[in-house]
Symmetry: C2
Subunit: 716 residues, 2 copies
């Protein structure tokens, strides 16, 4: 029986309130069977027994490269993580876009990630004639590789601990002043370092503020699409098989980093393993796990159970239904909404699973024993959180047109301030990315925009009236805002007016407003610009309230707790996930489910069998290219595999690496039990699911005839 350990550090709550469009779409809690409850109970029972242990003996941990699990791996697996080995892996690892993982796999800038991580790029380049997401893509020559405007990849070049410097600056200050001073110092450091090194610099908050590390990234801004398979094989089994195992997905795609118009020359990249991977073999995952919350206090978890997840799920349920109904009306509708619909389904699954966990009394029996210094802040948040989500995070104005309008307005407003005074996402180091996003010329569909905005405004309308009922009442009187909004027009009429009337879908209009700055924006008659301006004071007021009354004080409280623990346990622990580079270790290992042993590696034959059992009905329909070429494929080729690595959303696209530093797989999912990794890591049945490198190579060769890529991957 393996040990199960809790990690007691937690992450800035704010990251939870944002939807990351490229966020690992497969990962989170589901708890959809009794086993997961058993597993939670089991973890809970063991909790007290392991609280004081500092040496982790399970394959737990999303470790920092700067505080690697050298001792743990050495003692458990007798393998030495040398500085050289670690540096090579770190420099081969890529953060893809805002929150995906990836790796370099050739000296010529070839980047491997998941199909689902690259999906928004495929979506953007699709046309009514060629649905690239569905049909896949292969660039026969270098010249055919498709530039992905707005997409950025970064590599973690170097790291510096600046905790002491920041502590020095804030040591005698009161919480809110300290937070502001720290933010100012961070902005300053980031900017100075960027100027000095010509690298993209970010200060990372680790151990909930227990540590601050300066990360210097090399940034690649010319990324081109090289290859992607058909969605029917990339996501074989689709949504229904998501979080399940055995699986059969070629969830992979290749991109390429360019510099000065030529393929980037890359020193550190992962060689392709041609020897496969064996059961019980030691393997590593190097990627960017997004968020874990292994140390939320009781009151914080209560807030999640009472408000955060139920309200999030209410929004996800309605969106999933509205998007699905739209998709069903025509094939073109389906193409346009496909990516949004996939994302919503995945968020919904994760949320249901986590809420289920939080509604399980046995979890709360444990939590009674927690220290809880943030109860007051959590209780206060109940009173304005919905308004905050609707107005500031924009849930009530769900449309690309609104988001662009807000970015144009805020960028113009914030640029007039000192970088340290700005909203954090508009600090100097981020400006270029925001501009690129505004000028990204991928299509925005009028009908999809009206659909989304109508639904979210309807939700706002409902909420507006709800809040004025006798039985309810929020501190922020949102109703006042609606009087103006809905007095003349229904939500649908307003949505039609804003979307049909707006010219923001035209990138040349956006460019003009961007270049014209604040004056041009204030003078604009665009209805969405005017609407977003009218909303902004309310939104900013809520943002300020959220930061001052919740985010800043709880961060300080968690920091204090984290520092205490860090002092006690030192370098034997790892921080909660922060969308930054981590390494986890584990082995290739099957597991038991309902008394049945599930083997760790599937093969091509298994995929065809599953398709047959589902009568080849979507999403169990392999593409024509696979059916046609079945006879020339080696049916024994490894397809997917499971390992014990500790992963979470954001790890999608991470390379699975053997001790020789070769890539043996491509992480794309976790099994249903891994979803609990948000709060608890359990080695017994929690598994990381990867695409086997063999199936990628076999299909590149025999199905996609991608010889130039095969050669590039396998050349010595």
């Amino acid at each position: 029986m393996k040990r199960i350990i809790f990690n007691l550090f937690s992450l800035n709550f704010f990251t939870l309130t944002t939807d990351f469009s490229l966020f690992f779409r497969k990962s989170s809690f589901i708890f959809s069977s009794r086993q997961i409850l058993t597993c939670v109970l089991f973890a809970v029972m063991l909790f007290l027994g392991v609280l004081s242990r500092s040496l982790l003996t399970a394959d737990e941990g999303m470790w920092l490269f700067e505080i690697p699990p050298v001792q743990q791996v050495q003692s458990k697996y007798n393998f030495e993580l040398t500085e050289e080995w670690l540096e090579h892996i770190r420099l081969s690892s890529v953060r893809f876009g805002r929150s995906g993982s990836a790796s370099f796999v050739s000296p010529h800038g070839l980047i491997m990630t998941n199909h689902h991580v690259g999906a928004s790029q495929l979506q953007m380049h699709s046309t009514p004639e060629n649905n690239m997401l569905k049909n896949g893509f292969y660039a026969e020559t270098l010249a055919d590789e498709i530039p992905c405007h707005g997409l950025e990849c970064i590599v973690l070049h170097s790291i510096k601990d600046i905790t002491a410097d920041l502590d020095e600056i804030t040591k005698d200050l009161e919480t809110n002043t300290a937070a502001k001073a720290r933010l100012e110092a961070i902005s300053k450091i980031e900017q100075e370092e960027a100027n000095k090194t010509n690298l993209h610099c970010e200060v990372i908050t680790l151990f909930q503020g227990g540590k601050y590390h300066l990360y210097r990234y090399k940034k690649y801004t010319d990324i081109r699409l090289v290859w992607a398979p058909e969605q029917d094989i990339a996501a074989f089994g689709g949504d229904p098989d998501n979080y399940e195992y055995p699986r059969y997905c070629v969830d992979s795609s290749f991109f390429r980093a360019y510099e000065n118009g030529n393929p980037a020359s890359i020193k550190h990249y992962l060689k392709w393993s041609t020897n496969g991977v064996k059961e019980n073999e030691l393997v590593f995952v190097s990627g960017h796990p997004g968020t874990t919350n292994r140390a939320f206090t009781r009151s914080h978890l209560e807030f999640q159970r009472d408000v955060y997840f139920p309200e999030r799920l209410d929004r996800l349920y309605r969106r999933e239904v509205i998007y699905s109904a739209f998709a069903e009306r025509s094939l073109e509708n389906k193409r346009r909404i496909a990516h949004d619909l996939d994302a919503v389904k995945n968020y919904r699954k994760r949320a249901i699973g986590q809420l289920d966990g939080l509604q399980t009394p046995s979890l709360w029996e444990l939590k009674l024993k927690d220290k809880d210094t943030i109860a007051e802040q959590c209780l206060n948040l109940y009173s304005f959180y919905t308004d905050y989500c609707y107005f500031e995070t924009g849930e009530a104005f769900n449309s690309q047109t609104f988001r662009l309008a807000r970015q144009l307005i805020r960028l113009a407003q914030e640029k007039e301030k000192k970088t340290t005074e700005r909203l954090r996402e508009y600090r100097e180091g981020n400006i270029e990315s925001i501009k690129r996003n505004i000028l990204n010329d991928s299509p925005i569909y009028e009908d999809v925009e009206i659909l989304k905005l109508t639904d979210s405004l309807t939700m706002l309308y409902e909420y507006g009236y709800k809040t004025s009922l006798p039985r309810k009442g929020t501190q922020v009187n949102a109703k006042a805002e609606y009087n103006e909004m809905f007095d003349k027009l229904s939500p649908k009429e307003l949505a039609v007016k804003l979307i049909k009337g707006s010219k923001l879908r035209d990138v040349t209009v956006r460019r003009k407003l961007l270049e014209g700055g604040l004056d041009a924006i204030i003078a604009s008659n665009d209805p969405m610009i005017k609407f977003a301006i009218s909303i902004d004071p309310t939104a900013r007021k809520l943002r300020k309230k959220y930061e001052e009354e919740f985010d800043t004080p709880i961060t300080a409280a968690y920091t204090k707790l984290a520092k205490e623990r860090f002092e006690k346990l030192g370098n034997t622990i790892y921080p909660d996930a922060t969308f930054t580079l981590r390494i986890s270790y584990g082995t290739v290992k099957g597991y038991e489910e309902s008394g049945k042993y599930i083997k760790p590696v599937t093969n091509i034959a298994g995929m065809f069998e599953r398709a047959e059992s589902m009568k080849f009905q979507e999403p169990f329909n392999p593409p024509a290219s696979w059916l046609k070429n079945k006879n020339i494929l080696n049916l024994e080729t490894g397809f997917n595999l499971v390992t014990t690595n500790d992963i979470i959303g954001g790890n999608s696209g991470s390379p699975l690496i053997n001790t020789k530093g070769e890539v043996v797989g491509l992480v794309f999912d976790g099994n249903i039990y891994s979803l609990s990794n948000n709060f608890i890591y359990t080695e017994t049945i929690s598994r990381c699911v990867s695409v086997h490198v063999d199936v990628i190579l076999e299909s590149l060769k025999k199905i996609y005839n991608a010889e130039r890529i095969v050669k590039e991957l396998t050349e010595k």
Copy 2:
């Protein structure tokens, strides 16, 4: 330009709070395009001009057979509705199950209704090997016809106005006492009449209590399934094409009434029209429209906008998502949940449409002028309506197992009371139907039950915690009930315990409890029985509160208003729909949509074209039997048609009848604009959609080889 008239009578609110499983699945508001808004505006503008008119010149009205629109039809269409003609139509009309419409179409008891009205019967007789809902069914011989246990059909035999008798009884009493006295008198009359006539007797509340009519029904309890086509052609275009036109659905099925083991001998039945139907031809619909609310006051509509529809939609959204996800996991799951999923999708569409209408300011400008004597009662309802739905209408315990447990308990409890003291649905005349329902042995699936109950208990859990937050608080402290319920188990754990532990899915267990009566039930250790007993006091308390504080007083207020209007306008008006037999008139007529004229009749060729445009993808895939026989079909055969008849949910399965009293079509849907018939009838673009009799006959002959039925339908 046609006149648009409002009908100012409204219906008992209670009918709105129940899901009728056989309820016309196609009808309600959608307003999903701007046209419908235009149409509402148009209606609103005309409203003041027509308020004082008593002669309806549009094809409006769901008329009583006892107060038929003789004058209107005579003056507009120069056709005389004779007593003889009306009696023949009335006695040919059938109420199918609790809320579907149908008609006799042969002297041997052959009943025609929609495929979707008969769907739950097809579902019940399906097995993992033969999905009858999907594959259709044909009984080659009489002996092959499948008995449908628990299904009842009734025919309106005779009618008596008892308003004066009841008014005499209640004339000097205070509202609540009067209501009770009236109920007692009604129960007594129903029972006495039933004993006297050997007919099923019901007192119908018309004109919101302005009139009480005693309806005596002949009841058929041995109903057998004769024929149903494949679902792919019955519901061609599926959910996406629902409420749209042109359409191509063979939404029909045949059943047969038996008496004493032989086909019932039927004097009044509709002959099959062999001459088709012409544009502008006068046609009638005789059926059982369920509910219209054409006279809700401003406060009543506000309640619907603020609470009723938003809360209903929240529940429908989550169910649609949960059911869809379940369906996607395997073909067997899909079969098991298909009927529930279809129903939820349809309810969702209707609710979205109606809420959209209520969120449209132009509607409210009109409503300012309404008399409103029930504002206080509506406001009071806000405070306990959710609890009422969750506990009394059972939304929080969504499962067949719970419903059976409650029926067993309440039947045992209520039977010990005088029939006049009982909950209305347990009055003596209903006891046999309830028993038949309890002993209905169609399969109940454990996994589906767990799925549904888990989700609805999760919703209850969320609500329980929400109500104890500082920002909310209901008058009924529901939270107290949850302390016990969820203190030890999560919603999922509780659902698993209740469903897995219960033996109620076994009909022999139910029979034993039914026969054992209250003692056996109290002594039962069945966890669901125990659970339902523990819930019942809360549920009954809410039921009592709802009836005493809302339903009874508003009924009285509406009655007063209705009587005033009835006295003024006499027999020139019709009451709101009440799931009882009505007749409406209209003509076969196309309409304009987005500037394009839509022809009234489609044909078989059009169906094949639509299928091709959707690449024959589900639900645009005609079944193999149609593809195979395309070459022998007459492609010009009429498929569906639209008429101006005033219909609403419940009319599904109604015959469309020509002046000769022949059946020319089978009502199965309304177009999107007809959804507004709930509040407003508009002749300009609101249309009733029917299956053309020709396509039924053509397919019976050439596709289903159902010669004995063809002969039966067409013999002179």
